[in-house]
């Protein structure tokens, strides 16, 4: 096997090995744990950068390991995989720095960081999976590694949230397994192929394929928080802020959405899926989720809960972009995978900053917080405007391509949904900003901690600012050579339609 073949495996090992080592560390070995965490994150970033450069220049990275008779564990780095891997690698580094600051002095840090690294390992595995069985293996591994993170606080509420998370995701995993097995029996292959591999299946199996599609969408839809399978997500916001950030921006919901992208484009093929008539209902389901999530968010006073419902809504943009079944909408959906991640992680980091620094958990407690924590709220403001879809933040670019893609394929109703969603986003984000920037602060904050005259700890503030800057840059420099948008265009060209 060439060096190129080893690279995908090395990317996975770069977080797996530090994770396993961290489990064995004593709680007080803070420095060693930090070094292991950061080294793993930086090494992963370098390796991903290497692969990005290679794929951009036409190199091929693939590794195959025997799994079961007739089935292989395939790791492959194509443009779509690398988009997700890059997002995970960048945000893992940032979240690790944040988590180090956030959990300073708290118990069970080795356990936390161990599972944290395993969670990223599973996410990267999901991204690099070259066939459906590899995807399934890492997808289930993701469920198992995130559960301890959700229940990390050990409170009754956390345990209940964890239980709910486990029930939902295991149910989803079962449907996914059923669909995968059925598909394998029917076709004899599970290999992800640009434009899918099912268009040669005999017509008499088409109704079976529709059921398989429904099973697989339900399996992915649990993690992607499609209604009515979204119930676990708002409950899981009891987890520590870095975990929420990871769940909402990088790992779990993204894995679900990414699964739907793979399913539509590289299992069924978007044209064949349209012939089967499954993309239309998927688009309607995504649209309903977008509006439902926004409506629910509108009535939440708990900040993280509002953000969680916002995720329910925003992640469905990805599904909508895929289901619209056109190349321009595909660009919008795929690029939103990155954009939503950058914006949502910023918002969760900021929510964590407010909770850790001032004890603020509710929106009604946020009066005047912009004066006390201006930089945190600047980051939050950028994230919020991005979610609304206001230019020049990244969310505008996603909505632009989704809207344009919808018009391209004659689905004007999607534009109305996008406008409605923007309006609802404005309705639940702008009041927060108004409170923070224009209301008088209270005399006493709920639970203020002193950070030596600073706004908050650097380890909490810098990641928020970094991700906010990335969200702004992704929108402002959308047409730049190395922007997520340009990469999404490359995916549309190479994998779907245009080449």
């Amino acid at each position: 096997m060439s060096a190129n073949g080893w690279l995908p495996l090395l990317v996975i090992l770069s977080s797996l090995l530090p994770g396993l080592l961290i489990f064995g560390l004593a709680e007080e070995r803070v420095r060693t744990r930090t070094v292991l965490n950061l080294t793993g994150a930086v090494v992963k970033l370098v390796l991903v950068g290497w692969m990005l450069w290679g794929v951009y220049n036409g190199h091929h990275y693939e590794m195959r390991l025997p799994l079961l008779p007739g089935l292989e564990l395939v790791l492959r780095a194509g443009p779509l995989a690398l988009l997700f891997v890059s997002l995970s690698a960048v945000l893992w580094l940032v979240t690790t720095v944040y988590a180090i600051g956030y959990l300073e002095g708290s118990p069970h840090r080795s356990r936390f960081f161990g599972f944290f690294s395993l969670c990223v390992t599973a996410t990267v595995g999901v991204a690099l999976a070259g066939n459906l069985i590899t995807f399934l293996v890492f997808y289930e591994l993701l469920t198992l590694t995130t559960y301890p993170l959700v229940v990390h606080r050990g409170t009754e509420v956390a345990r209940r949230a964890g239980q709910s998370y486990l029930i939902y995701t295991i149910f989803g995993g079962s449907l996914l397994l059923l669909g995968t097995v059925w598909l394998y029996v029917l076709t004899g292959t599970l290999e992800f192929t640009p434009r899918g591999f099912l268009d040669t299946v005999a017509t008499e199996h088409h109704s079976a394929l529709v059921v398989i599609f429904a099973l697989l969408v339900a399996g992915f839809g649990v993690k992607a928080a499609l209604i009515p399978l979204h119930g676990w997500l708002p409950q899981a916001m009891v987890a520590p802020a870095p975990v929420s950030a990871l769940l909402h921006a990088v790992a779990v919901v993204k894995a679900g959405a990414f699964g739907i992208v793979r399913l539509v484009y590289e299992v069924f093929g978007v044209e064949f899926a349209a012939i089967l008539g499954v993309t239309g209902p998927l688009a309607w389901l995504a649209a309903a989720t977008i509006i439902y999530g926004s409506l629910r968010a509108l009535f939440q006073d708990n900040l993280k809960r509002r953000l969680a419902y916002s995720t329910v809504s925003q992640v469905s943009y990805i599904t909508l972009g895929v289901a619209i079944a056109g190349p321009v909408a595909a660009i919008g959906g795929v690029v939103h995978l990155v954009h939503q991640g950058l914006m949502k992680i910023t918002l969760f980091f900021c929510a964590g900053n407010l909770a850790e620094t001032l004890g603020i958990h509710k929106i009604s407690e946020m009066d005047g917080v912009g004066r006390r924590m201006p930089w945190t709220m600047v980051a939050f403001t950028i994230g919020a405007f991005g979610m609304i879809g206001a230019p020049p933040v990244a969310g505008f670019v996603s909505k632009w391509y989704l809207g344009l893609g919808a018009l391209e394929v004659g689905q004007g109703w999607v534009v109305i949904v996008l406008a409605g969603s923007s309006l609802l986003n404005a309705a639940y984000f702008l009041p927060i900003l108004y409170r923070a920037w224009f209301r008088e602060p209270p005399h006493v904050w709920p639970q203020e901690r002193d950070f030596g005259g600073k706004e908050t700890a650097w380890a909490l503030l810098l990641p928020s600012l970094a991700t906010a800057a990335m969200a702004l840059a992704a929108g402002l420099m959308a047409a730049g050579s190395y922007s997520p948008l340009e990469w999404a265009k490359l995916i549309a060209e190479q994998e779907f339609y245009l080449k």
């Binding site: 344009l404 224009f438 047409a479």
Partner: protein
């Protein structure tokens, strides 16, 4: 292309105020608000044209200055400098310092929209400007200011949504989104009618054109002097500029639907003339009437493209003079209002001032009264009375005209200026 203006200056004009929005930077700069306008001032006074292509910015945009945009830029700089001088943080204490980021964002957005060469650039900078301006509007933080801010914000969001839809239609139809390309592409497009109305309503909401003017009246009444001064030159002028830039004027004949546009414009003028209000709402009513005139002209341009092509050069100076006019009015009434509200004393003072300004109106009125003595009886029996419209009688009309003498004077002056420009 004249080499006197370095293209880089175009970028600096927009980037400099946006950079100064950061407290860490503006706090270290003396007179940050005045300094923020310096590159724009330089650009406005340097002769020649220039353009800057920024293929990496947004979806690929650029900035340019030509003879037309120079009018708007020069006005904007003048208005912003006035605002910078009147809103010295030293004069306003800590509250003034807090508004500096909003001031800078609004300024940067305003300049960016003026210089943008395409629809996305205009839309993006106008959005930044709009949200920044909201911060300036509600700086008083009392209930009235909050209400007016909410109203403005609602209009802004709805306008942005409509314009976003219009942008999508334009992008779907045109090869790129430069003004001239969009204009050419949209003329023959089946979606032109929808595009026209989306753009019209979107920018009419932003400019506060009657009957979508509520936010403007409220804003003039509740905003502090600096913000009142900016109202005409920033959101109103940018709304009108958007109409000029986004619509294929002089190329597209809109047919019967333009009648509605003209009726709206005429309605705005009538509303402004007949609406009751105090001195506090005077600039708002002037804004409503002048934007109404603009809409009438726009409707005529859409009905008769050839006529528009003949007189289109008036458009930019018109918007520029509107900005200055409303800034002057906002400043004057703002001064009379004192720090925030019109005092009885100031109200009386303005009341005493008006007959002086409008003495010429009195003379014209007397002359007309002598010549057309039967006119008032004709007025009374008019068919309008039959449908129970509230027609002011002759005496009330006289009071009304006298009460509006300052406005009418300004109108006439504006008309003369435009006639001079047209000549």
């Amino acid at each position: 292309m004249n080499a006197v203006i370095p293209p880089l200056l175009l970028g600096v004009v927009v980037a400099w105020p946006l950079l100064l929005a950061f407290p860490a930077l503006y706090a270290r700069v003396p007179w940050p608000r005045q300094l923020a306008t310096v590159p724009a001032l330089l650009l406005a006074v340097l002769p020649g044209e220039a353009s800057l292509e920024l293929s990496w910015l947004l979806f690929g945009t650029g900035f340019a200055i030509d003879g037309q945009s120079r009018w708007i830029l020069a006005t904007a700089v003048a208005v912003w400098l006035m605002a910078a001088v009147t809103a010295q943080p030293a004069n306003e204490g800590n509250a003034g310092r807090c508004t500096t980021p909003f001031f800078m964002l609004t300024l940067g957005g305003n300049l960016g929209a003026i210089l943008a060469t395409d629809l996305v650039g205009f839309f993006s900078f106008a959005t930044v400007m709009g949200y920044g301006f909201y911060g300036l509007l509600i700086q008083g933080s009392d209930e009235a200011a909050r209400r007016s801010g909410r109203c403005y914000l609602l209009f802004l969001i709805v306008a942005d949504l409509l314009l976003f839809e219009a942008l999508l239609l334009a992008a779907f139809t045109a090869e790129d989104l430069r003004y001239e390309t969009v204009g050419e592409a949209m003329v023959g497009a089946s979606s032109m009618s929808l595009y026209l109305w989306l753009v019209l309503i979107g920018f009419m909401l932003k400019a506060g054109v009657w009957p979508l003017h509520w936010w403007l009246t409220a804003a003039f009444c509740t905003s502090p002097r600096t913000t009142a001064l900016l109202l005409g030159g920033v959101p109103v002028a940018m709304g009108l500029l958007g109409l000029l830039r986004w619509l294929p004027l002089g190329e597209y004949a809109a047919g019967g639907s333009v009648m509605l546009i003209q009726v709206m414009g005429a309605g705005a003028v009538l509303y402004a003339v007949f609406a009751r209000g105090s001195v506090k709402t005077l600039p708002a009513r002037v804004a409503v009437s002048v934007t109404g005139l603009f809409v009438v002209a726009l409707g005529s341009g859409l009905a008769y493209p050839a006529v528009w092509r003949q007189y289109e050069f008036i458009g930019y100076p018109f918007i520029a003079s509107l900005g200055i006019l409303l800034a002057g009015l906002g400043f004057t009434t703002g001064r009379m209002k004192g720090a925030r509200y019109m005092s009885t004393f100031a109200s009386r003072r303005l009341g005493a001032l008006q007959p002086e300004v409008g003495r010429w109106i009195e003379i014209v009125y007397q002359w007309a009264g002598d010549r057309f003595s039967g006119l008032h009886s004709l007025w009374r029996v008019s068919w309008l009375k039959a449908v129970k419209w509230r027609i002011p009688d002759w005496r009330n009309l006289r009071t009304l005209v006298e009460g509006w003498s300052a406005t009418i004077t300004l109108f006439v002056l504006l008309g003369l200026a435009l006639a001079w420009l047209a000549g």
